[in-house]
Symmetry: C2
Subunit: 339 residues, 2 copies
DNA sequence: CTGAAAGCGCTAACAA
DNA sequence: TTGTTAGCGCTTTCAG
């Protein structure tokens, strides 16, 4: 642990500022906290002293005295595979950038499900996904700490959440393929331990059902979101006696891998296979044929999550709980064709 | 800002524990901080009370009173493109996981170069890369805050750093190609604003020079690490009147894109082109032909960085500065052939 | 080995 | 509009 103050040169405190500017400590505090009641002249004196002394208030003292915290903890379950996904980084990026702007301290917790978080001192918590770590969420809730869940719809707990409408997105994607005349539509799932992947599978099924297309179990390939498993799935798919004419893939990264396999097998996209991905990962634009995909508003989800949490943190009364689904958008590019 | 304590039920403090266990506050504090001098019997009483009351010390009070902080700030420059790289996520993962284990609070700062960090209260800072934000580092240093730089070798500042031997890695890669008989070796660079990409280019040049192979400027393709630019580079490369027989690519992601382009053009890897990447990104394993690459110890770099920083934070005396290069490892797989 | 007392730097009533 | 006075919850001399 580092000593914050060196023994000889104590760092400047609010008292030094008060002395230099000739007002009381309280007044300095008021200026710092932007109380409107301070006389302009004093404000100026204090501000000048602050600048001259390069004073920065001690956050610890502030938090101790006020009982307030502007620390936001972001909890990411460290399950196998999260770290090879497009979305975690997008989420971190979105949350990190907004916290930076809002002057919130972002505490990153990569937890496994069983460890318990040190909740004391954090002002609010954002749970990114919920994979085996519901207990951590329940702990936070029962400790009365403002909490938010993103990328996961939680309907059985009193907590705000903001998730992507994965099922709707998947349904749209498959409906689109159907509208193009496809009947033999496969699906390469993500890791079904995640809510998102499960919902996409559900959406796929719904779309087929609504259109009276019989579901063929052999057209569903379960994976863990990895490129490796996407590759095996694609290889099997192309080898089927009755191969599908289209496939809806649960992530762009996997969809790209399917395209690679196709290229290696001498298949043409979209002539031999129409493909729709999910994510709107920029990588999808770079291939020879641009990938049609479902855009999910990750950055928006991250930002809304932070804003909503901040609302909680600032409201004296327990804020109203909101559970929202963010819509997706089908981005039609070149990887599908009419049949 | 959230109130940490509800008005009615004050959270349990050290005083409650002292009262319940019948000793002084001081003794409780000693037990918490594992002072050896407490009588075993008292220790037990205190520990029992702590458990019964579910007491957790307030980190703010601790920090305020002791002047110590176990907060580690991770500063990542938010420059265009970092967030599409393999390495940032690896770094976050490595650092996050270790901090979790070491009970250090990880504060994530995605900064732009010009904003100044709120350094007050952090116990130590890790700078991941240094891109336009040297001033932030200098500020930290002159504020006397323990700091570390990772993924960037800094030789003109009194600061410990731990970087990957990118130049050596690149040289090895190119030497390997040369040993296979290649003379016409191209290089697709990364974003030369990063030290890593610049060093890899340097290593490429060194290897050619040492082997008396004349450098051909038209064989060097500058990119920003994006797949898009890798694609254009690859397309140009294949169209050259005298195309190279091998290419050293500054990242695996880009190398994979080169392979995609090759497949689309009906070229075979490694028959028509030998490829070496950089990163040992797991994606490199999934293609039809596994990518030969240079493995860089990202997780190790992250972990060493945290450990080194902790050493700083714990030593009263200014710790000795270390500047280290971590070696890379050439991972030979299937994407290169003899000529 | 233990405890009393003095802060750490700031905020928040309450007066003035 | 401003200042006085208590703390916030813990650590740390310094006596005992």
């Amino acid at each position: 642990m580092t000593r914050l103050k060196k023994t000889p040169s104590r760092s400047v405190s609010i008292e030094d500022v008060a002395r230099l500017s000739g007002v009381s400590i309280t007044t300095v505090s008021r200026v710092i906290n932007k109380f409107p009641s301070v006389k302009e002249k004093n404000r100026q004196k204090v501000l000048a002293a602050v600048k001259q002394l390069k004073f920065e208030p001690s956050v610890f003292a502030q938090r101790l005295a006020s009982g307030k915290s502007n620390i936001v903890a972001l909890v990411i379950p460290r399950y196998e595979g999260v770290f090879y996904s497009f979305y975690v980084l997008e989420l971190i990026r979105g949350i990190g950038t907004l916290c930076e702007a809002l002057k919130l301290d972002l505490l990153l917790h990569l937890t496994d499900a069983c460890s318990s978080l040190n909740l004391k001192g954090v002002g609010g918590i954002i749970f990114a996904d919920l994979i085996g770590n519901r207990r951590q969420l329940e702990d936070a809730l029962s400790a009365g700490i403002p909490a938010m869940v993103i990328n996961n719809f939680v309907d059985d707990l009193q907590v705000s959440c903001i998730a992507v409408d994965n099922q709707g997105g998947a349904t749209n994607a498959v409906n689109y393929l159907i509208s193009l005349g496809h009947k033999k539509i496969a699906h390469i799932t993500g890791d079904l331990v995640t809510q998102a992947a499960a919902a996409r599978l559900e959406g796929y099924k719904k779309a087929l059902e609504k259109n009276n297309i019989q579901l063929r179990p052999q057209y569903i390939f379960k994976t863990d979101y990895s490129r490796g498993q996407a590759r095996s799935a694609a290889e099997k798919l192309f080898k089927m006696e009755e191969p599908p004419s289209a496939v809806f893939v649960a992530s762009d990264a996997m969809a790209l891998e399917v395209m690679n396999v196709a290229a290696e097998l001498g298949k043409n996209i979209p002539r031999d296979l129409s493909i729709v991905g999910f994510d709107d990962n920029p990588s999808g634009l770079y291939g020879q044929v641009a990938l049609t995909t479902v855009r999910q508003p990750l950055i928006k989800m991250a930002e809304e999550g932070v804003k909503e949490l901040e609302r909680f943190m600032n409201s004296r009364a327990p804020a109203k709980i909101k559970k929202v689904f963010l819509p997706t958008e089908l981005v039609i590019r070149e990887s599908c064709r009419n049949v």
